[in-house]
């Protein structure tokens, strides 16, 4: 139990997926102009990340490992994720239209988001069991949400700022992310994996 909590805190704050692991930077920069959309994206990522990690976990343990097809991991995972997102889109529209309205527009963005594939592969690389995989993917997703949400808040404030021309746009976004990452270094060692 303690181990799981430590894993959760580590993947949320200390080894934050965006700020420390460098995954999902593009949507982080792209979908963070407003806090509402950032939150939507964050929740969508959590949702898809957990689903994708679990499914790819089963595929790895149930199919690839027994058949010794480990080298097909990349190709299988990405296809599974693409299919999953498609299916999610369709079923969500039918079963939970409200949820679809909130998260639907972010789903296509997520297919090509490296966080999802990255976390699925990391789960296998780190040899997590099912519960750990669940905790890892969920808390990593939360970490993504935290990072993108506070980042969007800062960017909203930067709207009013008199940013020098060459820095406007992605440049200031990336640098701000760097400063966030600098601040998050304070969490180092809070828990030790």
């Amino acid at each position: 139990m303690v181990k799981l909590i430590i894993l959760a805190i580590d993947s949320m704050l200390i080894s934050n997926i965006v700020l420390m692991r460098f995954l999902g930077i593009c949507p982080y920069i792209g979908v963070s102009k407003k806090q509402e959309t950032a939150a939507g994206m964050g929740f969508a990522v959590i949702f898809v990340m957990v689903m994708a990690t679990l499914i790819s976990f089963f595929i790895q343990k149930g199919i690839l490992d027994p058949l010794n097809l480990g080298y097909l991991q990349t190709i299988v995972f990405i296809l599974v994720i693409a299919a999953l997102v498609q299916m999610l889109e369709v079923t969500m529209k039918k079963i939970a239209p409200a949820l679809f309205d909130a998260l639907g527009i972010y789903l296509p963005l997520i297919t090509t988001n490296c966080t999802i594939l990255g976390v699925a592969i990391l789960t296998i690389q780190k040899n997590f069991n099912l519960v750990e995989a669940l905790v890892f993917s969920f808390s990593t997703g939360i970490g993504y949400l935290i990072a993108i949400y506070i980042f969007a808040g800062i960017r909203e404030r930067l709207e009013w700022s008199d940013i020098p021309k060459p820095f406007q746009g992605a440049a200031i976004g990336i640098i701000t992310a760097g400063l966030l990452s600098l601040a998050f270094f304070g969490f180092t060692g809070l828990v030790k994996l």
Binding site: I154, S161, A183
Partner: protein
């Protein structure tokens, strides 16, 4: 009479109670006790650190203002804000910091901390703290080796919090808390940043700021109280591992941070409620880092981390309108 030229501008038509310059220079004034104490303890070393940091900060301020095409480079660079940043950065450095470290800090503070975002008022993070953390991560050895105040030898020692983190509670049990509070040398203990040695000196300046209404009293109060309560809880639960709350009060940069950095209005929430949440968060994270984190001291990080939340806090603490 008839040839008067009248100026038309919007109201009000009165003398302002205060302006930015005055606020900033008041902060400088309030930092004088700390500065004087630092110089008394570290003599020439402190003078060099303080002077070179301020000098470079002002230089980079001018340089970046110039590059950004400001029309009033000189006037703007002496509005006091860069001076405050420089002085606070200096007070956050060890007395042994070489001049180039001061210059590097000043550069980072002014570029990444301030002018990239458009200068005074626009920066989301505290420039002095950005610089401090940048230096801490970049030059950990230089930034964590401390000389003892007033001593002539070149020995370096750890700070009380460093000793607590490295050697455990037994090593700090016998320290005289009053001496630590006043900033007097304690044997076997290194001072720390030149501005964090004497809580007393910081307190004098801080109270001045409160009296002059430059900062609201509740930010430092909530910040410090939160650290007190949290460290008290852990100390009460397990005194053989966790140091006493009073020990946490008189060590590290808690007072300097609470009075002078968590109060930088540019980077902290704007409403009173927001400021209280902010100060509480700072206290909480400071305690967590001190008790469990890798770093012996957490004030700088805590303030920076809370600053990432400033816009969000501002949003959720909107004021109630009169009559709503």
């Amino acid at each position: 009479m008839a040839d008067n030229k009248f100026i038309v501008k919007p109201a009000p038509f009165l003398k302002k109670p205060t302006d930015v310059k005055m606020i900033m220079w008041t902060v400088v004034l309030a930092l004088i006790p700390t500065t004087v104490w630092a110089i008394y303890l570290y003599r020439l070393n402190a003078v060099i650190v303080i002077l070179s940091t301020i000098l470079f900060t002002e230089l980079f301020e001018m340089l970046f203002l110039k590059i950004r095409g400001s029309k009033k480079v000189i006037a703007t660079s002496f509005d006091g804000s860069a001076f405050v940043t420089g002085l606070l950065l200096a007070l956050n450095l060890p007395s042994s910091a070489p001049w180039w470290l001061c210059a590097a800090g000043a550069f980072v503070a002014m570029l990444f901390g301030k002018h990239i975002f458009g200068g005074l008022g626009h920066n989301p993070f505290n420039p002095a703290l950005i610089a401090r953390v940048f230096l801490l991560l970049s030059f950990p050895t230089l930034m964590t080796t401390w000389k003892q105040g007033m001593s002539v030898d070149a020995m370096t020692y750890a700070t009380p919090l460093g000793i607590l983190k490295t050697d455990g509670i037994e090593a700090v049990k016998s320290m005289d808390l009053w001496r630590l509070f006043a900033g007097l040398p304690v044997s076997g203990v290194g001072g720390g940043s030149i501005g964090e040695i004497s809580e007393l000196a910081v307190l004098i300046g801080g109270l001045l700021l409160i009296v002059l209404r430059v900062i609201p009293f509740f930010i430092p109060l909530v910040f410090i109280l939160t650290v007190y309560v949290f460290t008290w809880i852990f100390n009460a639960a397990n005194p053989s591992v966790y140091a006493s709350p009073m020990f946490h009060m008189v060590t590290g940069g808690l007072f300097l941070g609470a009075f002078f950095m968590a109060t930088d209005m540019v980077t902290t929430p704007i409403t009173p409620k927001g400021k209280i949440i902010f100060a509480f968060g700072c206290g909480l994270i400071t305690s967590l880092i001190r008790l469990f984190g890798a770093y012996p001291e957490g004030v700088s990080f805590a303030i920076l981390i809370m600053e990432t939340l400033t816009p969000t806090i501002d949003k959720v603490t909107k004021l109630k309108k009169f009559g709503a």
